[in-house]
Symmetry: C2
């Protein structure tokens, strides 16, 4: 039997799972839609039931699953296996996810923030391996971030439950309202949710419904000036946030992922303009900005690597 | 003979030196004013001549000096011992300071950025020892910063020559002009230089000359509303920058030093307001902000520790 682990990526609307072997091969995937009833028990049942299905698949494929790693959108205490708080999975607040799932599927479970899983995946199987020190940014429903310092995913002060939350750094004090309750966060400008809220608030497309960043990207491809302007605003905000992160950390490389990053071609010039405007410690030609080549699978592979690290006893701390 | 090292703090206008023993005692200090002729040779001569004086003092005091550590204001490649660029010591650009001084005084020389020396000093002899992960901010002529992560001073990507330059993170895009050439840097609001430039530009004290942060502090003590407002502006900008740093790093502790921090009592309420306004990942009561208890000596002790680490072979990298 083949030695494998399961990697999972649990967001607010969907959860995805993959059986992954030590050679980074994805053997099988599974995706479910999450129903939110407000009950932690209901949330766990959906995850456990999906995992049981994946474990059945594994047996059928002659795979020996040794552990489970889960990247979860939210503030996660990786060491204790607890979701502290997740804006998009509110029923999971203070939930001992690792222990509860472990007791149901009888297998070791390791959890981390989903953007950290993205970082781990990039280091293991993507361009992250090329760099020792870099910032990862996922432009999805929200904006997630990860920091890789000296080759390791930085998880913040012990027990604090978050790190690299670049989406909630302030780019424009007093600016647009973010879902987190503050004004001017990067997420309000450069996430799918933030961009769609800008569109709705200002009724930017009165003649049609634009409710996803993919639709907006397709409009930009047709040369629609409004779509291009929105990606420019997003790109500029991103440049301010990256400039601050590079200046603060003494790093100069970033990998950008998430659905909105498919429109990178429309954001990049504005991001670079903002970097030039806001960064005194580095010249633009010293900087490397790359979009993720792993795409959707970065977080799944990273969650799998989390499980492998857990088995090897190198999880969870730096 | 007592085993000692020399720690030095080299700024734009002054250089200070101390003979320090392994028990963190400061045995003797020396301060010189630096004349800038534009010649690297002249700059080095002044440092070497001061060091020779300190070495004479050491011999007279029966101290065996084993190495020299220097904190230098600017972008420093600690590993190669080179000052890459210093806005306040322009003649030192690309100067192989460590090697050149070493060949003159015949002793091992280690160099680092001055704010990193502050951090090292706080870890060795100050409150920095209480924390594993923290941000240091020096509010002096400019604004310097250091980052201590997992108990070690973070020096950025190998060879990049800077880290923790919080003074040049943007707090207000499009805001006040900073000496670095960019707009809206923290340094333009919260350094002595930035505050004095605000005073001059707006002629805030037409009836008297206010040219130091100490004078401004003394005015604030008398209840002068203009002085209080300036410290409030500085405190608020500082809060925005700290909020962004904490959010980006997953840390929650800061130690604030430098001359302007003597007015901390007038800045603190605004800093806390800004933290409350801009930080969604932490509540205010989870945060620890302290002013340095070592004061002026933090950077000297840190430079001495740099020398001791160098002797022990643990310098310069993380």
């Amino acid at each position: 039997m083949k030695r494998t682990v399961i990697g999972g990526d649990i967001g607010g609307t969907h959860a995805r799972f993959a059986i992954v072997d030590e050679a980074k091969n994805i053997i099988s995937t599974e995706k479910i839609r999450i129903r939110h009833t407000g009950s932690a028990q209901d949330f766990l049942e959906q995850i456990v039931s999906a995992l049981e299905k994946v474990l059945n698949t594994a047996r059928a494929r002659d795979c020996d699953v040794q552990a489970i790693g889960l990247g979860i959108a939210g503030k996660v205490d990786s060491e204790r296996g607890i979701v502290i708080f997740s804006p998009n999975i509110p029923e999971a607040r203070n939930l001992t996810v690792a222990e509860k799932i472990c007791s149901r599927v009888n297998m070791r479970v390791f959890i981390d923030n989903d953007a950290n899983a993205f970082g781990r995946g990039e280091v293991w199987a993507g361009d992250g391996a090329l760099f020792k020190d870099w910032l990862g940014i996922t432009l999805g429903t929200g904006v997630g971030g990860c920091l890789v310092l000296s080759g390791k995913v930085w998880t913040g002060e012990e027990g604090i439950g978050f790190a690299a939350e670049i989406g909630h750094t302030t780019v424009y004090p007093g600016g647009l309202q973010c879902l987190c309750g503050k004004l001017g966060c990067l997420e309000a400008y450069a996430s799918e949710g933030g961009i769609i809220r800008m569109i709705q608030r200002q009724n930017i497309f009165p003649e049609k419904q634009v409710s996803t960043s993919r639709q907006l990207y397709e409009l930009a491809l047709t040369g629609d000036e409004r779509a291009l302007e929105l990606f420019k605003i997003a790109g500029k905000a991103l440049g301010v946030a990256i400039a601050n992160a590079f200046t603060l950390l003494g790093i100069r490389k970033a990998i950008i992922g998430g659905g909105v990053s498919r429109a990178w071609v429309f954001m990049e010039p504005a991001t670079k303009d903002a970097l030039r405007e806001h960064m005194s410690m580095l010249d633009l030609d010293e900087i490397i900005l790359k979009t993720s080549t792993l795409g959707d699978t970065a977080a799944l592979l990273g969650a799998a690597k989390l499980a492998l690290d857990g088995l090897a006893g190198t999880h969870p701390r730096k």
